[in-house]
Subunit: 166 residues, 2 copies
C-alpha cells in the first residue's frame, strides 16, 4: 500500500539530522560506507513495480566519467555505483506522481577487478534504513548480491544503464 | 507504449557527444541554461504514471543545502531546481523495472524573489530534447508554467519534496 506524502511530513523528515560520518559500521566484508555518496552525480533512476520502490543510481567521479563516455563494459577499476532506494509514496499535490517515501537502503558496487575477482570484479555492500545498519550476517552475504547480478554478466554484472543526457 | 532498453542501444546513446556549452539558446524570458546542471546533486525523483515519464530532481548548491536543512518554505534566493525528464522504458534484464528511455527535457526553476516577483519569485525555463531547444514562443510561456504551479503555492510553488536521506 502506498503512502501519501504530505508536504509538512516531508519537511520534518528532511530536517532529521544526517547520520554522523564515522559512526556507520563497515559491511561484513570490510567495505566502508563512502562518506560523501550523497553528493555523487546521477547516472540513472528506476521504478521497480515488483516491489514498489523508487531508485536513484549515483556514481563517484570515476563511475560518472565512465558512464558519460560509454566506457562501462567493463566499468573501470575505482568506479563505485551507489543506489538509493525508497518505498513508493504518492505526492498529495499530484496524485499520479509516485515519489520517494520511506528510505529503504543505500547499496553500492565497488569495482576492483583484482580484489573482488571472485565476484565479477565487484565488491558489494548495503546499509539499511535511516540508521544505516550494515547488511549481512557475515561476509557470505555477497553471494546473495552476486547471484542476483550474475544474469547481467554480459553488462559487467550491472543492471543499470546510464540514462541519456544532452 | 513503453520501449525496452537494450544494453547495446543504451551504451550507444551514452556515447553521444554532449551538447557543447554556449551553443544552447536562452529561454524566451532571457534565462540561460545552467552550464553544469548535469553535475548537481539529487534532491528527489518521481515517476509520473499519467504521462509515463521518469524524473530526477537536482539542485544547485544553494538548493541542495536548503533541501537538506529543511529550509524550503520559502526556498532561498539563488536556489535553482532542475528536473531531468525521460520517457518510460523497460529494462530488458529486469522487466518489472521502469527505467529512463528517450530524454524529453530539462526544466528549471530559478528563485529570485525580487526579479521574478510576478511569478511567485521563480523564473521558469525549459529546454527540450537532446538538442536542447528553448521552450516557448515568447516570454509569455511562463504563464503556462506558473499556472500549473499555482496549486502548490503553499509549498512555495514547488511540487518536489526533498527525499529522505540518512
Amino acid at each position: 500500500m502506498k503512502t501519501t506524502i504530505l508536504a509538512t511530513a516531508a519537511l520534518l523528515v528532511a530536517g532529521v539530522a544526517a547520520v554522523q560520518a564515522g559512526t556507520v559500521p563497515p559491511a561484513p566484508n570490510g567495505i566502508d560506507l563512502p562518506e560523501n555518496y550523497r553528493d555523487w552525480q546521477v547516472i540513472a533512476s528506476s521504478h521497480r513495480v515488483d516491489n514498489n520502490t523508487l531508485r536513484v543510481i549515483l556514481g563517484n567521479d570515476i563511475a560518472v566519467q565512465a558512464a558519460r563516455s560509454g566506457n562501462t563494459r567493463p566499468w573501470p577499476d575505482g568506479a563505485i555505483l551507489g543506489k538509493l532506494v525508497w518505498k513508493d509514496a504518492t505526492l498529495e499535490a499530484w496524485e499520479k506522481a509516485v515519489v520517494p517515501g520511506e528510505f529503504v537502503h543505500a547499496e553500492f558496487m565497488f569495482k576492483d577487478s583484482g580484489k573482488w575477482a571472485d565476484t565479477g570484479g565487484w565488491g558489494f555492500a548495503r546499509w539499511t534504513g535511516m540508521d544505516q545498519q550494515a547488511y549481512g550476517e557475515d561476509a557470505s552475504f555477497v553471494q546473495e548480491c552476486f547471484g542476483c547480478h550474475t544474469p547481467v554478466k554480459s553488462n559487467d554484472y550491472v543492471f543499470t544503464l546510464p540514462a541519456q543526457l544532452p
